[in-house]
Symmetry: C2
C-alpha cells in the first residue's frame, strides 16, 4: 500500500483548457463506442450475475480513469450492460446498488472529476488515488474492472535505459522506436514486469468469477516497432527535442536522462503476461483495427494536441519545461507530422480489447 | 443518490494558506485526543470483531472529513483501536485489510487531501464526494463510521427563516441566537429533520452491529442559546454584518437573505433524534466539557481565524464577498471579541461524544 513515487505519477493534463485531456480525448470516444458492444456481450455471456446479485452491491473500478466526458460514458456502458443482464434473468436491477471507484494517479484532478459527476447517476461514486501497479482495494471486493487507454503507460521508464553503464543506455533518445535491441528488450521486460504486478494486485481484489475489460493501444503481432503509428509519432517528438538540444534550449544531458514510460505491446505479449500470471482466463481478445485510419486525427495539430495533454506533466517535471518551451516543442511536433509521411503507418497500430475472468480455482 | 444543490455545499476553506481550514484546526485536535481514549474503549467494549474479521476487510468512513492534519490523525486512532482489539482476541490483525472512505462536500479540496495522505498508511484510501445528509455508500458495507465536528452543520438554513411571509422570517439576523421563538423552532426542526435523514442513510449503510462515533459541538442541556459561546460569537458576526449594512458595503436585503446553516443541539435533542429513528442504540454519550476554557482560543484573532476558514466559502457564494470584504468582516469580528465579555460564556458550550451501535434486530 505504499504510495507511488513522483517518478511514475504523471496524470493526464488537468483542468478544462485547450491543452487539457478532457478537451483532447474525442478520438478515444470512437473506440469506447466500439468497446460498448463488446462489453454488453461480455456481461451477457460471462458475468455470473446470480452469484453477485446476492451481495446487494456491485462494485466497479475504472483504473486510469483520467478526467473527461469519456470517464463517465464508459462507466455508464458497463452499468447499463449489468442492468440489462439482470433484466434478462428476471432479477430486479433496482435492488442492486452500484459503487464505482474512479482511480488514477494522486496528481489527477479529482476535484474536477467529482464536480463533473453526472447529477442523475445511479451509482455511489468514490475516487481512489494511486498507481494501479500496486494494490488499491481490499481483497475480493471488485466485480468488474475496466481500464481504457491506460495500460500502455508503464510504471516508469526502465531503469537500465537511464544507466550510462548499461548496454541498454538510451543516449540521445526518448523512446525505443529506433533504439538498439537492448533498449527494446528493457522496455518489453518492463511491460512484462508491470503487467505481472498489475495482474497480481487485481487477482487479489477481484472476486472469483469477476470480469476485467482492458482496452489499450497495441501494435499488430509481428509488426516492427518502427512501423507503428504511435512509435513513429514519438520519433518525431524525439527529433523536436534533439532540435532543442542543437539550439541550446535544453542540455544534451537532460535529453539523455529523459525516457518515455510507455510501451505498445503486441496482443501476443499481453496473452503471455496473462498466462504467466495464471489467475485470469482470457475470454475474449479482439483487435479493433478497422477504421483506425478514420478515427485518427489527420493533421499534425490534431495529433500534437492530445500528446501535449498526455505528456505536459511529465515534461514539466522531468525536463523542467515551462509553457513557452511546451508551445515551441508541440508547434514543431505538429509541423513535423504535416511534413512527414507518417499517416501511411496508421495500419500497423491497433487497439486491443481483452476480456479476462478471475479464475474460480486459484 | 442525487447530488447536493449548491445551497448546502460549503466545505471548509481549502488550500494551505493562512485562512485555510488545515491551518486553523488545532483547537479541535485537543478534543480528538480526548475522543481517542473513548474510541479505544468503544472498540474494546462494543465492536464485534470476530463477526467482522471473517469478511477480511474492515471499512471505515470519516464523514465531513475536511482537509487537514486532524483528518488522518483521527482515522489512525480508529484503526489502532481496531488492531488492538484484534490482538487482544488473538486475531491476526495483519490479515485484516482496512479501507477508509474520506467524505466531504463535492467542493472539498480532495486533491490536497489525496496528496497529503500518509505515505506509511496501512489502509486503502478513497474519497467520497457528497453531502452526508443522503446516501453515500452501498447497503451494509461500513463497519465503523466516524464524524467529528461536522454534525452541527445543517443541510441548509431552514427555508422559513428566509421566507418573508413566514412568522419565522429572520429579518436583519443571520442566526437564531437572539431571534424570536419561531426562528429557533425552525432551526431545531431542521436539526431534527437532518438527523433523521442522516440516521436513515447510515442505518442502510452500516452493517448490523457496526459502530458510529459522532463528536460535535453542543450546548449543555437546559442552557439558553444566548448563553452558548458559539452562539454569542456568531452574534458578534451578525453585528459586524449589520455595521456593513449601515456603511452601505452590503445591502439590507442581502443580509436578510443570509442565514447560517448551523445548529448547536443539546445532548437531549440528539438523544431524541436517535430514539425517534430507532435503528441505532446509544452505547455511550459523554460531555467533553472539562477544559473547554483552556482549549478555546483566547484572543479575538484566534477565534476569528477558524471561523473565517469555516465560513469563507459560504460568504463568497451567498453574499458575493470578495477578499477585501472578508478581511474587513473578520478584522472587525476579531476586534469585537476582544472588546466583549464573550469569554465568560465558555462554560455553556460543550462537545458531545456519542457512540451508536447499529441495531441487529431492525
Amino acid at each position: 500500500m505504499a504510495m507511488e513515487g513522483p517518478s511514475n505519477a504523471f496524470p493526464m493534463n488537468g483542468g478544462e483548457g485547450p491543452h487539457s485531456y478532457s478537451r483532447n480525448s474525442s478520438g478515444q470516444r470512437i473506440f469506447i463506442d466500439r468497446a460498448r458492444k463488446l462489453i454488453q456481450e461480455a456481461v451477457a455471456e460471462h458475468l455470473d450475475m446470480e452469484a453477485f446479485s446476492s451481495s446487494g452491491a456491485f462494485l466497479v473500478a475504472d483504473l486510469g480513469c483520467s478526467v473527461g466526458p469519456n470517464t463517465f460514458y464508459a462507466v455508464s456502458n458497463v452499468l447499463q450492460a449489468v442492468e440489462q443482464k439482470c433484466q434478462s434473468l428476471g432479477l430486479d436491477s433496482q435492488i442492486l446498488e452500484f459503487q464505482v471507484f474512479f482511480n488514477d494517479h494522486v496528481g489527477n484532478d479529482f476535484n474536477i472529476l467529482f464536480r463533473s459527476l453526472p447529477q442523475d447517476r445511479r451509482y455511489h461514486a468514490a475516487g481512489v488515488p494511486g498507481s494501479f501497479y500496486g494494490r488499491l482495494f481490499p481483497k475480493n471486493c471488485l466485480h468488474f474492472v475496466y481500464s481504457s487507454f491506460a495500460l500502455h503507460w508503464l510504471s516508469g521508464a526502465p531503469k537500465e535505459v537511464q544507466d550510462k553503464s548499461s548496454p541498454a543506455w538510451n543516449k540521445g533518445r526518448i523512446f525505443y522506436t529506433n533504439a538498439n535491441k537492448e533498449v527494446i528488450k528493457a522496455y518489453a521486460a518492463q511491460f512484462a514486469k508491470d503487467m505481472e504486478v498489475f495482474l497480481c494486485a487485481r487477482a487479489q481484489e477481484v472476486v472469483r468469477g469477476g470480469l476485467m475489460v482492458l482496452t489499450f493501444l497495441t501494435r499488430l503481432d509481428g509488426a516492427p516497432h518502427s512501423q507503428v503509428f504511435a512509435n513513429r509519432s514519438l520519433d518525431l517528438l524525439e527529433s523536436c527535442l534533439a532540435d532543442m538540444v542543437n539550439k541550446g534550449t535544453i542540455s544534451e544531458e537532460r535529453l539523455d536522462e529523459f525516457n518515455l514510460p510507455m510501451y505498445y505491446a503486441s496482443p501476443q505479449e499481453m496473452k503471455e503476461a496473462v498466462e504467466r500470471n495464471g489467475r485470469f482466463s482470457i475470454k475474449k481478445m479482439v483487435e479493433l483495427v478497422e477504421g483506425l485510419a478514420e478515427a485518427y486525427p489527420l493533421t499534425g495539430k490534431m495529433i500534437a494536441s492530445p500528446w501535449r495533454a498526455a505528456l505536459e506533466g511529465l515534461l514539466k517535471e522531468k525536463m523542467q519545461f515551462g509553457e513557452e518551451m511546451l508551445d515551441e516543442l508541440f508547434d514543431s511536433f505538429a509541423r513535423k507530422h504535416d511534413e512527414s509521411s507518417i499517416f501511411e503507418f496508421v495500419r500497423e497500430s491497433s487497439i486491443t480489447f481483452v476480456l479476462l475472468e478471475r479464475s474460480t480455482t486459484n
